[in-house]
């Protein structure tokens, strides 16, 4: 296990295709002169059927564009699809998310550690 901190995708299932990551990365790369997703170091591919958004990251080394804390793509990612951490933490978070999304359908849409309110598993038999 490497302790190297890097940017990673928790799961493509969490990617809303919003392109906040692309758009903001390009802004910082251009030193704030404008937005140009084409030039970003991350790209969101939509598969031909349009049923999945797949983030492709071209900066597997530590992000050079950090301000305070997270790289801007992670800061602006609304669902928590992108994460900035080491491999070990990534694996444990993935497991946490897998379980959470079984228990509570809300977590098909966001990672549980970004959800600040109390939550309980959904009682499906009562619906």
């Amino acid at each position: 296990m490497s302790a190297l901190i890097k940017i990673a995708v928790v799961s493509a299932d969490l990617c809303s295709g919003c392109r906040s990551c692309e758009t903001w990365c390009s802004f910082v790369l251009a030193k704030g002169r404008g937005f140009r997703p084409e030039e970003s170091r991350i790209h969101i591919e939509t598969d031909p059927q349009g049923v999945l958004n797949i983030p492709h990251i071209n900066c597997l080394e530590e992000c050079q564009l950090k301000h305070e804390g997270d790289p801007i793509c992670v800061e602006m990612c609304p669902t928590g699809c992108l994460i900035y951490t080491d491999d070990e933490d990534l694996e444990s978070k993935r497991a946490l998310w897998e379980q959470a999304r079984q228990d509570q359908p809300l977590f098909r849409l966001i990672v549980p550690w970004k959800y600040p309110y109390p939550w309980r598993p959904l009682k499906r038999d009562e619906l």
Binding site: Q104, L106, Y117, P118, W119, R120, P121, L122, K123, E126, L127
Partner: protein, 97 residues
């Protein structure tokens, strides 16, 4: 003859949006002792779903400022409960969101 025990009333509650995520269910019927008010209902909620009360009644904050409880009663126009002492009546439908 008449029992000295206070009669229970039943209110029907619905949970919407994020509140349903907090409870894990979307509706239930709750029995309360008469006379009942919104504060009593929150006591029951807090017992069943720890963490519920502060969302609607934040410590040191204003009751129901950024949340709402809609009360529908006997075919009258619904209203939002803004006072924790608001009396509750048997058959009220209360929607938390």
């Amino acid at each position: 003859m008449n029992s000295p025990q206070p009669a229970p009333i039943h209110v029907f509650v619905k949970y919407v949006g994020r509140i349903a995520v907090m409870t894990g269910r979307v509706r239930e019927s709750i029995a309360l002792d008469e006379p009942a008010n919104a504060d009593h209902l929150l006591d029951v909620m807090e017992q069943r779903y720890p963490g519920f009360r502060p969302v609607f009644d934040p410590p040191g904050g204003v009751f129901n400022l950024t949340t709402a409880i809609i009360c529908r009663r006997g075919g009258q126009p619904s209203f939002s409960i803004v006072d924790p002492q608001e009396p509750l009546k048997d058959g009220d439908v209360l929607t938390f969101w």
